[in-house]
């Protein structure tokens, strides 16, 4: 009897140990179905809305998902775009309650970025929390009538909005002094030299952090620099920490990738990444696509790989992460459902 009890106890301990082992959990979690199905904590059926929008042109369309934040909260944006045709933007709170939707009568792909105040920028329009309205920016690089809008990134700091992009051999930056009204004279400037084979592939920032050493508030801006390894998909990534206070004309004069920055804020090289999905910043790390289709990696700001995880092998599935790295939002184009799923980070 005692032996039997000991054996059962031992088995339970083994099971407990195995259940805490990441590898075992990963293996047991594997599935031919998208991982987010089993990570979902909420979902919303968009079939009726989307079918109403698409009408008879149901065959060719695409979608994007964005999680954007302003000073008070995060919101989830689902963009459905006819091909060709207009597009529809659906705005949700983080519990996936549909708050508002808006039709954009342009086919040009719109990029959603974060900005100050209550205003999310939606390509050629801005969202003020209730509705979308036309947005007229005078600066040429962003966002109007530019084919590479998707390649530009924004951050906000000190009451201004910034747009950052990469030209073939340098970073460019435009500063908007008040909201998105007008750019600062003199910008964009060529502040940072870059090797021609790399490009800015994403950006993350944390507004108004207290500097643990110097005191006061700082806004670190993390640039995600992607370079190709020669083949079509594969490449490498550097995460470069800069300071928002130095934009739009930061004083860095080094070659970012080759030399790093003077104070050593360039991460180690992250190898075997691919850029079919944007690099996404969370407070748990940067989400980076890997060369194994559908598998992603969470990378620390120093370039250390924290973990690998699987979302889906369907490349058409759009997703984005919340800033805390607790949840991600993903849209399934087959079921027409938007899911909120746990990251497990």
């Amino acid at each position: 009897m005692v032996k039997r009890l000991l054996m059962i106890t031992l088995l339970l301990l083994c099971a407990f140990f195995l259940s805490t082992c990441d590898l075992v959990v990963t293996v047991l979690s594997m599935s031919p179905f998208p991982a987010y199905l089993a990570q979902a904590v909420a979902s919303v059926d968009m079939r009726a809305d989307i079918e109403k929008f698409l009408g008879d042109d149901y065959s060719d369309w695409e979608s994007d998902v964005y999680v954007l934040r302003n000073s008070t909260r995060e919101q989830v944006f689902l963009v459905v775009r006819k091909n060709p045709g207009p597009q529809m933007v659906y705005v949700f709170d983080t519990s996936l309650n549909l708050e508002v939707s808006h039709r954009v009568d342009t086919h040009r792909r719109i990029g959603l970025v974060e900005a100050l105040d209550e205003n999310f920028v939606v390509g050629g329009g801005q969202f003020d929390g209730n509705d979308l309205s036309p947005m007229n920016l005078s600066e040429e690089p962003y966002p109007p009538i530019s084919e590479d809008t998707w390649q530009k990134y924004t951050f906000a700091h000190g009451g201004s909005n910034y747009i950052v992009w990469s030209d073939p051999n340098q970073l460019g930056c435009t500063k908007y002094n008040s909201g998105w009204g007008s750019p600062t004279p003199g910008s964009p400037s060529p502040p940072i030299k870059m090797d021609g084979d790399v490009r800015l592939a994403g950006l993350g920032y944390e507004p108004d952090l207290v500097d643990p050493v110097l005191g006061g508030t700082i806004t670190p801006v993390y640039l995600f620099i992607f370079g190709r390894d020669g083949d079509r998909d594969g490449g490498y990534l550097y995460i470069i920490r800069t300071d928002a206070s130095e934009y739009p004309s930061p004083s860095y004069s080094y070659d970012l990738v080759t030399d790093g920055l003077s104070n050593g804020r360039t991460s180690s090289r992250v190898r075997d990444v691919e850029d079919r999905h944007p690099f996404l910043y969370t407070r748990k790390g940067v989400v980076v696509g890997s060369r194994n289709r559908g598998t992603f990696r969470l990378v620390g700001l120093e370039g250390d790989v924290i973990k690998s995880f699987y979302i889906t092998s369907d490349e058409r599935t759009p997703f984005d992460f919340d800033i805390d790295g607790e949840y991600y939002y993903v849209f399934n184009q087959a079921t027409l459902r938007l899911y909120k799923a746990e990251t497990g980070f």
């Binding site: 959990v25 599935s31 179905f33 979902a40 194994n292 598998t295 092998s313 369907d314 087959a334 497990g344």
Partner: protein, 412 residues
């Protein structure tokens, strides 16, 4: 040299046994030595030289087969002086009397001659074998065929037919040669029929045993028996006769499986299991199968699990090896449907249809059970009123390897 050196295939052993038993009383041929053999050049009796190349083909084939079968070929240099002394033309060595005479002078035991002719593109081939000591024709093979690629097959067939008969040539067994006096076969397969080469049916296992009829097999020789029983796969068994009295326990026959029940696990679907039932259209060969795999998709957090029921119908068959083989391979293909429902509230049920393009399974084949590993290639059709998977290959972790399933099956 013993006959151990001869390729111990069941077919040859069967023929050997057959001829051994039938000719014993005439020429009583006990295997046990490497016969010294004179193989004379193949003669072309055609009216033209157009088909001369067959001479070397036939001679070479005969030489190779005789050597492979353990015969000692007398080199031409040994009989050539005798031929010259007697002024026998090479072209007449297809005549039996000349060949036997020449073979005797070099102390050969066997003389093999061959000749052919081609008329109107029809080849006629004859190979003869003489027992030198008896000065007697032991065996001959006659073949004819149209001159095309099949000629080579005909030559090979002729040689293959002749070889087993040549083995029978030799002196009759001496009276003190040890022979097996009694062979008793023991088996658990009650009613199993035993066949013995040309003897054909020799008896049936009754009360667990069968006493073979008295046939003077030589000690250390081998016999091959065939075992048959209704609803069982026939089997062959080669037995070495070591003692005058042999009690031989036969290996049991394998029952013909009409169906099988499978239990399996698939990588990427480990929180569950599959049950399948096979129905053999041909026992242990071609089959239909229905399978249901239930599994839970869970990430061990606060989120709710997802439940999948994978239902499929397969048709398949075995390749390369028969039901007695320890290792077998089969291929299957079919159609399937995965029904999915959620632990999360307010979610609909989905059904994903797929084409199970090809499964290749490798089985360790036991008497009643099979252990197998199966590589599966599934292609989602992306069709149906409510589906999750888009059209494309179904695999775990994107472009990873095909799905792998491990399983066990019980045959019925």
């Amino acid at each position: 040299m013993k006959y151990r050196g001869i390729a111990p295939t069941a077919a040859i052993a069967g023929v050997f046994l057959l001829i051994t038993t039938t000719l014993w009383t005439q020429q009583a041929k006990v295997p046990g030595k490497a016969f010294k053999t004179c193989l004379f050049p193949t003669a072309d009796l055609s009216t033209t030289d157009e088909y001369r190349e067959y001479r070397s083909i036939i001679s070479d084939q005969l030489r190779v087969e005789l050597r492979n079968s353990g015969f000692t070929i007398v080199p031409r240099e040994q009989w050539e002086p005798a031929r010259e002394r007697q002024s026998i033309p090479v072209g007449e060595l297809y005549r039996g009397d000349r060949a036997v005479e020449l073979a005797r002078q070099v102390d050969a035991e066997i003389a093999v001659i061959s000749f052919y002719s081609v008329e109107d593109r029809q080849l006629v081939l004859e190979i003869k074998c003489y027992d030198v000591a008896q000065n007697a024709l032991v065996s001959g093979v006659f073949k004819s065929a149209r001159v095309n690629l099949s000629v080579y097959n005909v030559i090979a067939e002729a040689v293959a037919e002749l070889i087993p008969r040549i083995r029978l040539i030799g002196p009759p067994p001496s009276l003190d040669s040890p022979v097996v006096e009694k062979i008793a076969l023991v088996s658990k397969d009650e009613g199993m029929e035993i066949y013995l080469g040309d003897q054909g049916f020799v008896g049936r296992i009754t009360n667990g045993q069968l006493l073979l009829p008295p046939i003077p097999f030589a000690i250390d020789s081998k016999i091959t028996i065939e075992k048959r029983k209704s609803s069982y796969h026939s089997g062959g068994e080669t037995i070495k006769l070591k003692d005058p009295e042999m009690l031989i326990e036969l290996k049991p026959l394998r029952k013909q499986a009409r169906s099988a029940t499978e239990l399996n696990w698939t990588m990427g679907q480990l929180l569950g299991f599959g049950l399948a039932q096979r129905f053999y259209l041909n026992p242990d060969s071609f089959f239909l199968a229905g399978e249901h795999y239930f599994y839970v998709q869970h990430n061990f957090s606060d989120s709710k699990p997802v439940f999948h029921h994978d239902l499929r119908v397969l048709v398949g068959g075995y390749l390369f090896s028969g039901p007695h083989a320890a290792l077998r391979m089969n291929l299957t293909t079919g159609l399937g449907m995965i029904v999915t429902y959620f632990g999360l509230a307010d979610q609909p049920m989905y059904a994903d249809f797929y084409w199970n393009v090809i499964n290749s399974a490798f089985e360790v084949n036991f008497r009643r059970y099979m252990l197998y590993v199966r590589m599966e290639q599934k292609y989602a059709l992306g069709a149906g009123p409510a589906h999750i998977l888009e059209r494309g290959w179904i695999s775990v972790f994107g472009e990873g390897p095909s799905t792998v399933t491990f399983g066990v099956a019980r045959k019925w």
